[in-house]
């Protein structure tokens, strides 16, 4: 069997990614002239869309990074057959991270912004709750922490990817060397996971997203955000793996690997629901006004439809459709559900941000779709480029054989 070691970008692939990115840029320009220069409500609508899309897609591609470092730490060999795909997706972190950084900096540094209420010093001085959170919610900390977050994700991602590629041309000569190599991978993965815990699993969703409602807080919020983006991230990996399989690449990936990805999607969809419900039920049950303000527009306001749609796409659909073994091994169902979950968690982020900032109506229109399309195009473009630049098979990795004979 001759293996196709290099991905050659088909012309349709490039055209689609360019087209989607073009739609994104066009939406940005049109949106800027429609909303970006308007009054307070329009400004909020414009910046909230940018915040939602950039953070969502950044965390989704970063989830690919989390996926392969976590599996590396768990000594999981099954990922090696499609490791280069997750790596290529994680190579989007610097690009989308850069865009997100610019947007977040504009939100914090711009003189008049309406997204983060806590930037208003006079308001903070008068408000005991905001005053109490001053040590965390202030521009200096925000800027430093955001820079560190995106910077270290980029650096550690680069390190992990180059560790993986450095043995492509220099096979490991002995078992001892292999053990050393695995240990080095483990150490760098562990560093990344610790940083991930300090950012995505705790502070970053508080800073970037939850602080749009600075009086309200939930300790579940970060885990909830993480679970949301992790499901979407696995869905993205699945889509790329299936695309490459359909194009005749990744010969060693078979239904066993896809079954595992399906199981991840299923398991973390349930995990997401668990966190969603834990957050909702405690607030619903305690019924304290400071806390219920968050669910007021979502549960019985303008966002009721999205609230239930969110549950249907992200919980009921994966629970019922992914339940059987054969569904998780079926390319069509996997593709359908991956697209549905990516969309579903986008809607989840939409209600998280817009439910707070624009509580009285749902302003979703083509502008939001266009911005999302831009990011999707960017992910396709960047992932395709990185896939094409390096070999598709990590053939010298010590766990490669384990991945080929993988059986669930």
């Amino acid at each position: 069997m001759t293996l196709k070691e290099r991905f050659e970008i088909p012309s349709g692939f490039r055209m689609w990614s360019m087209g989607l990115m073009g739609a994104g840029v066009l939406s940005l320009i049109v949106g800027y002239f429609m909303y970006g220069r308007g009054d307070e409500a329009q400004q909020i609508r414009f910046w909230a869309a940018l915040l939602q899309n950039s953070v969502y897609f950044l965390l989704v591609v970063n989830a690919a990074m989390f996926f392969f470092t976590a599996v590396t730490l768990a000594m999981g060999g099954f990922q090696m057959a499609f490791r280069r795909v997750t790596e290529a997706i994680s190579a989007c972190v610097p690009v989308i991270g850069g865009i997100t950084f610019v947007i977040l900096m504009v939100l914090v540094l711009r003189h008049k912004t309406y997204i983060y209420e806590w930037l208003d010093k006079e308001l903070v001085a008068k408000d005991p709750i905001l005053n109490g959170k001053k040590g965390f919610l202030n521009p200096t900390f925000f800027i430093i922490w955001t820079t560190l977050t995106i910077g270290l994700w980029t650096v550690l991602g680069y390190k992990m990817r180059s560790l993986s590629r450095e043995i492509d041309d220099h096979p490991l000569s002995s078992i001892e060397e292999g053990k050393k190599y695995i240990f080095k991978n483990t150490v760098w993965s562990a560093i990344y996971i610790v940083w991930f815990a300090l950012t995505v699993a705790s502070t970053v969703p508080w800073l970037w997203l939850m602080s749009t409602a600075p009086h309200w807080f939930s300790t579940m919020y970060s885990w909830y955000t993480f679970a949301s983006t992790f499901v979407a991230g696995i869905a993205l990996i699945t889509l790329f793996v299936i695309y490459l399989k359909n194009k005749g690449y990744l010969e060693y990936v078979n239904k066993e690997h896809l079954h595992d990805l399906g199981k991840f999607q299923f398991a973390f969809s349930v995990f997401w629901t668990y966190l969603w419900f834990s957050q909702f039920m405690l607030i619903w049950y305690a019924n304290i006004p400071e806390e219920t303000t968050y669910f007021r527009p979502r549960f019985e306001g303008a966002y009721t439809g999205l609230f239930y749609l969110n549950l249907c796409i992200n919980f009921l659909a994966p629970l019922l459709i992914y339940m059987t073994r054969s569904a998780k091994r079926n390319y069509t169902i996997l593709t359908f559900m991956s697209v549905a979950l990516l969309l579903g968690h986008w809607v989840d982020f939409y209600q998280m941000i817009f439910g707070t900032l624009v509580p009285d109506h749902v302003p979703m229109n083509l502008f939001d779709v266009g911005i999302a399309a831009g990011f999707v195009g960017l992910i396709i473009y960047q992932t395709g480029n990185v896939l094409a630049r390096f070999p598709l098979l990590a053939k010298n990795h010590p766990f490669f054989k384990e991945s080929i004979i993988h059986y669930t």
Binding site: M281, Y285, R325, S326, Y407
Partner: protein, 196 residues
């Protein structure tokens, strides 16, 4: 519940077992079962077993649990003895979800364990024939069922060529029985004469 004749082949290594299973299936013999000290990935596929349907049973037990919980709680808290808990509606679905979840899991897990035991014919005081006790320790034991047309001597010789370290013939009761293990099993030939 009948006594049948089996050819029992023991293998020292799973690397030998896999090709042997394939050869036996290609030769057209009927594999009764393969007993191994630990679960072996891919053996069920190699043996050509169909997927288990225990998950379907699990789903049914699960929705039984969900129904039990929801109907039980709604009967007590809506019809039988409605109480006011902190101004919540009587139909307080979010508050019931944890219990519903627990009962779903409980029904599904207990039901599946019992179904599994039933399918494997495992229960207290229930006895089954063991082809080789070493299959719980270090041997991989493949058991082939003989039909009246099987040439047992040929089969034994064939098993030797597939790499079995030990091949012998056993007459065994296929079903289960109650009581102690010391049941005197007649050979297939005797059983036939008794039946005749």
């Amino acid at each position: 519940m009948s006594i049948k004749r089996f050819v029992v082949g023991s293998f020292d290594d799973e690397a030998v077992l896999f090709p042997a299973v394939k050869k036996v299936r290609v030769a057209g013999y009927k594999i009764h079962d393969v007993y191994t000290p630990m679960p072996i990935h891919g053996l069920d596929t190699a043996m050509g077993l169909r997927d288990t349907s225990i998950h379907t049973a699990g789903f049914l037990y699960g929705i039984t649990g969900t129904t039990t919980a929801l109907s039980g709680i709604s009967y007590t808290l809506i019809y039988d003895w409605p109480l006011n808990f902190g101004g919540k509606p009587h139909f307080a679905l979010p508050a019931w979800i944890p219990i519903t979840f627990e009962l779903t899991v409980l029904f599904a897990s207990v039901g599946m364990v019992l179904t599994f035991c039933y399918l494997c014919q495992m229960a207290p005081f229930v006895r089954k024939h063991h082809f080789s006790l070493r299959s719980t320790d270090d041997l991989f034991v493949m058991v082939i069922e003989c039909t009246p047309k099987t040439n047992v001597a040929d089969l034994e010789a064939f098993m030797k060529t597939t790499g079995a370290s030990d091949v012998h013939v056993q007459d065994a009761e296929t079903g289960w029985w109650l009581g102690t293990y010391s049941r005197n099993i007649p050979s297939v030939d005797n059983a036939k004469t008794i039946l005749v």
